[in-house]
């Protein structure tokens, strides 16, 4: 058995999480602000009112700061694939290669080329072409996100590929299946719409500060009106796609859904825990109560998971130890099947080495019957298949609470700004300053739930993270972790300072 160092796996995961979370601080603002710029400039193009041009140019400066600081932060993730996750990288290279290449060649170049026209071309190209460029930046940004999210969705729900037992690679069979996979579609809609919400919150926050200071009231109110409508519509899409994400999780990652809800024993019908404190002593398989002071909404989890009020929703114990009544196979059985799959693969390899084509074909056929259980061969105990329940439960519930709070805030801002009464409600403007950290908290928690909920898998049910990782010493990964921590902290401080400085300066015309 090849030894793996749990500390090295932990540091490699921490390093990837650190850089991915840092990268995701820029991406949502790029996605959402680019759309808002396109709306602002469309108003300018349609009305000819120079105030809309001033508004567009101001937000374009903040967009440029975010774009410039954030650009290339995704490269750090790619470095880690080749070094820390070389086995994984090799195995998924054929799957990830196509979406990432399309992302770079098509979406990124579309975005970057038109970004130059948008930022530098105000006086050099016609207003119509400038507006076209701004829309292309918005579309290019979302297309970039699409390909990355398709690749990530494949890790949650691997489809459209076959395993090559000679090269140990997953090979693409059907790129259409990857792109149209329910996980990919939902993932894309949820991630982009939540990014739109975050950007709208950013606009509300900056404008609240201006109104509190009595500066640029016309710019602030007009920006708030557009951002509130955009944020409100995006919030509805977040809720709808979030509902679909839970439905997908019930079908493809039921353990993730059970952990998100802290559901240990399956229920029919199953209620949704709106609020509750998890019992820290609770373990899978025991009889201890799961919650202290829970508040349940009956039927809602059944509705969320299966779109049926009276349906059964499996809990962690059902999925872990099996539930024959519901036709659920336990993890111990899956582990046994996984080891069979691995043994057939080993025999196939030996037969190939000895030139025994018949034995190779027989073992390969047997392997194909149970290859979807392969990853379970690498678990030592069934309990390893359970992700960290408290992180998922609290992360999911805080995210959902914020996700329902934001549309109410957009409605309030919209109503008060429309009636010209926003400046009188200073408590709301002060609260508005918190909207950026709250928006980022919801957005980051979404990714924490998505990625932590997939654990212990790098590729759901097929490859656990410790097998995906390179054989490296923990100290090697640890040292690069701290290099990244220092570098990313510096970049973050640089962005904050430049961004805050630009907000303080305000729109161009008024600084004279």
């Amino acid at each position: 058995m090849e030894a793996f160092d749990p500390a090295a796996v932990g540091w490699a995961r921490a390093q990837f999480a650190l850089t991915a979370m840092y990268h995701w601080m820029f991406v949502p603002l790029t996605l959402g602000l680019s759309c808002l710029l396109a709306f602002f400039e469309t108003f300018y193009f349609r009305t000819g009112n120079p105030e809309w041009k001033r508004i567009t140019r101001f937000w374009m400066r903040l967009f440029a700061v975010n774009f410039a600081i954030g650009i290339a932060t995704g490269l750090i993730l790619e470095f880690q694939f080749g070094t820390n996750w070389s086995h994984y990288s090799w195995m998924v290279g054929d799957i990830f290669g196509a979406p990432l290449a399309i992302e770079v060649l098509f979406a990124f170049f579309l975005e970057a080329t038109f970004f130059a026209v948008m930022f530098f071309g105000w006086e050099r190209v016609s207003p119509r072409f400038h507006l076209f460029s701004t829309w292309m930046v918005a579309i290019g940004s979302s297309l970039s996100a699409l390909w990355i999210l398709v690749a990530n969705a494949w890790m949650q729900h691997p489809v459209g590929m076959t395993f090559n037992p000679d090269l140990a690679r997953f090979e693409m069979q059907d790129i259409g299946a990857l792109i149209t996979s329910p996980a990919a579609v939902t993932h894309f809609l949820h991630a982009t719409s939540s990014s739109f919400v975050l950007s709208a919150l950013f606009v509300l926050s900056v404008c609240s500060w201006y109104l509190l200071k009595g500066r640029h009231p016309r710019l602030a109110v007009r920006s708030i009106l557009v951002a509130s409508v955009f944020g409100l519509l995006s919030s509805l899409l977040v809720i709808l796609s979030g509902d679909q994400a839970a439905y997908d999780a019930a079908r493809f990652q039921p353990m993730k859904l059970a952990a998100m809800e802290g559901l240990y024993q399956g229920e029919q019908p199953a209620g949704l825990v709106v609020f509750g404190l998890l019992n820290p002593d609770k373990q899978p398989g025991d009889d201890r109560p799961t919650f202290r002071h829970p508040l349940h909404l009956p039927f809602l989890l059944s509705l969320l998971a299966n779109h049926r009020l009276d349906s059964f929703v499996p809990g962690i114990d059902d999925l872990l130890y099996g539930n024959p009544e519901q036709g659920i196979e336990g993890v111990a059985e899956k582990m046994a099947r996984g080891r069979e799959a691995l043994a057939f693969l080993s025999r196939y390899r030996q037969a190939r080495q000895h030139g025994d084509a018949e034995a190779a074909a027989l073992n390969l056929e047997a392997f194909r019957q149970i290859e979807d259980r392969l990853g379970f061969a690498y678990l030592n105990h069934p309990e390893e298949a359970v992700p960290h329940v408290p992180t998922l439960f609290y992360g999911f519930h805080v995210m959902v609470a914020l996700g329902f709070l934001f549309p109410l805030i957009f409605l309030l801002y919209l109503a008060l700004a429309y009636r010209g009464r926003l400046s009188r409600h200073r408590w709301l403007l002060r609260f508005g300053l918190l909207l950026v950290p709250l928006g980022f908290a919801a957005s980051q928690l979404g990714w924490v739930v998505t990625e932590m909920g997939r654990q212990p898998w790098a590729i759901q049910n097929i490859l656990p993270v410790h097998v995906a990782q390179s054989s490296l010493a923990a100290t090697t990964v640890q040292s690069t972790f701290f290099i990244f921590l220092a570098l990313l902290t510096l970049l973050f401080i640089a962005e904050l300072r430049i961004m805050l400085n630009q907000i303080r300066i305000g729109p161009e015309e008024e600084k004279r």
Binding site: E2, I69, F79, L345, V467, L491
Partner: protein, 60 residues
């Protein structure tokens, strides 16, 4: 310094640090540096898959 110059400076420093220092000295592509061809890389990863299984296993 104007905003444009500041941003270009940040971008250039970042690209130099990422590609000229980190990628070059800290993040080699392990399989590419250790092996000359895809066949050897595949054999290595396949061996890793075979040997990574837990010790207490039942054979079919």
């Amino acid at each position: 310094m104007t905003l444009g110059k500041t941003l270009w400076t940040v971008i250039l420093i970042k690209i130099i640090v990422l590609l000229g220092v980190l990628k070059l000295f800290f993040f080699p592509d392990l399989l590419k540096t250790r092996f000359d061809n895809d066949s050897d890389r595949g054999a290595f990863v396949l061996r890793h898959l075979m040997e990574s299984q837990p010790p207490a296993r039942s054979q079919p």
